[in-house]
Symmetry: C2
Subunit: 340 residues, 2 copies
């Protein structure tokens, strides 16, 4: 098992990426190939005292890197020598089993689609983050890869999300819900009506019907299916509201000496709570539907999150997910694969 | 100023509605007309010791009432003698200056559109709740009245939201933002591209561009413009996440004696915080774009929320909002009024 890692993607690259890779290499029993500027990597490893660890990793030397300001298409056009582009091409060529990057999400979606390519029959890849709910976590599918979706894409998101949750996350019978403005079958817009029909008729998933946004944090289902526009709004609002509430609570805990003392008493438990709500715990988001496993590490990831993400990337690559989806959506099969 | 109130709408009707009306009548200097079953109202008032207060209100006697299970169209078809339908018809006939109901939201939107009618030139009414943000509150427009929207509708939502926030809520120069998946002008789907253009060109509002969902709780703008599908998802997720986080905190505060003592110390401040996040504080949501003021009171409203809602309904009716919008969108005017 060899994972190719974009050493120059994310807010804390290359230092935290390198540290996370060193931990992963030791703890997870995986081989690593780092895409990025070799000279800079050697210097960084030396500074961090990780030269022996880096020596065990392959380096895919390249001089360029994408930034958050680059257009998604830059991975194909303006910056073919960027660490992300080089890593994805190496993946496509079979020089590794999976690719992980904490860099520009839009570019990673474009690169997964155009360089790693989609599974034959898959209409769109999905960006599929795991988010905390009252018990455990759920997958949001799609969280922003495709802003304009057709009903058969939503069906595929359901199929892929379900397969991922089962094979990679170990959930026995994932409940798939369609994010909608009401629970009744006729609710929502034309896209939702048609997607509801398709999902209802699909025998390969456990479809629980429409789910309202209010119920999503309360364990409405394990896979929330939605178009990428709505999904991205949900993803970012989820994060924004949780942060805003926690900020307000922090405000309460610091506004007086009495409150500070109270805060000290519950400090450990509050920290635990914050951790349970932190989607960094899940390391990032798989990009599903690509013909090879591609994993988005959180942009702000530090070493331990990078390591968690690489563990999930390994699980993704080992799961047989890609093969299962390829079979399920192969042209001619039911799951919309013949309607390309 | 006479406000017509649906006495049989909402989870706590008619008791809490009647109590709220009695308070409003006394404190706000408004006249009230209650739509609903006269016999039941008299009995309820007697039980609550509010017979003298009810005696000062007009009663629009009718025997039926809508439930949350009724289809929105029931206000027109199956239940023309419901308290909501009777109240809306009285409004349309000029027997009151505004109408408020805590009943079925979908039915209220249909009734506002078909019975109170839209302002001439307004393409769709909007359900426009006020939600808390880090400082104060913002308006979500549309929060679920129209799941399928065209760009010119989003322009009108911006115009109407801005006018409401200025005239009714007293915000000097409301910042209008378009909810989108990124801040750059080219982000989002076709609807967003076209709406961005229209909003940018509109001289009557202070358009601040696209706003990401993550920034909405952090004072990104005063009016969040979006289609009703996305708006409803945002509204309900906002509520769901805030509740889920508060539930988790409650869990921390009750899990041990030490934590319970800490909770006691911060109790008052936490209560204050919860209040600042409670959208019940704003009493409900105006339905804007109707030719007469229609106000949705929260379904779970108790007396004090009903009173708050009636104060806002009064402010809405007194504000000159309807006249301003009628002028702004009159057929032939710039704001999309000529593209019916």
């Amino acid at each position: 098992m060899k994972i190719i890692v974009d050493a120059f993607g994310g807010d804390n690259a290359p230092g935290e990426i390198l540290r996370g890779c060193a931990q992963a290499q030791m703890e997870l029993g995986i081989q690593l190939a780092l895409a990025g500027d070799k000279d800079k990597l050697l210097a960084c490893a030396k500074e961090l005292g990780l030269s022996p660890q880096l020596a065990q990793m392959e380096i895919l030397d390249c001089k360029d890197a994408l930034t958050m300001e680059d257009e998604p298409s830059a991975v194909l056009k303006e910056k073919p020598d960027s660490s992300m582009a080089v890593g994805l091409r190496a993946l496509a060529q079979g020089r590794g089993d999976a690719f992980a990057s904490a860099g520009n999400s839009g570019a990673l979606v474009v690169g997964a689609t155009m360089i790693a390519k989609r599974i034959r029959g898959v209409k769109r890849v999905a960006f599929a983050p795991l988010l905390p709910k009252s018990q455990g976590f759920f997958m949001l599918c799609d969280g922003g890869a495709s802003v304009d979706c057709r009903p058969e894409m939503l069906l595929q998101f359901g199929l892929m999300g379900s397969a991922y949750m089962k094979r990679v996350m170990g959930i026995e019978k994932p409940r798939v819900g369609l994010a909608n403005v009401g629970t009744e079958a006729h609710k929502g817009d034309e896209l939702r009506h048609q997607a509801f029909e398709l999902l209802s008729q699909c025998g390969d998933i456990h479809f629980v019907g429409n789910v309202e946004a209010r119920d999503i944090p309360y364990d409405a289902c394990d896979v929330v299916v939605t178009d990428g526009f709505t999904g991205n709004m949900l993803l970012k609002l989820y994060e924004g509201v949780a942060m805003a509430v926690m900020d307000k609570i922090k405000g309460v805990f610091t506004q007086s000496l009495k409150n500070k003392l109270a805060a000290a008493a519950v400090y450990g438990d509050m920290k635990q709570l914050k951790k349970s709500m932190d989607y960094n715990e899940y390391g990032g988001a798989p990009i599903i539907g690509a013909a090879k496993p591609v994993f988005k590490i959180h942009g702000s990831a530090k070493a331990s999150t990078v390591k968690n993400a690489l563990r999930l990337t390994r699980d993704y690559a080992q799961s047989g997910f890609v093969e299962q989806i390829a079979q399920a959506v192969a042209p001619g099969k039911a799951a919309g694969g013949d309607q390309q």
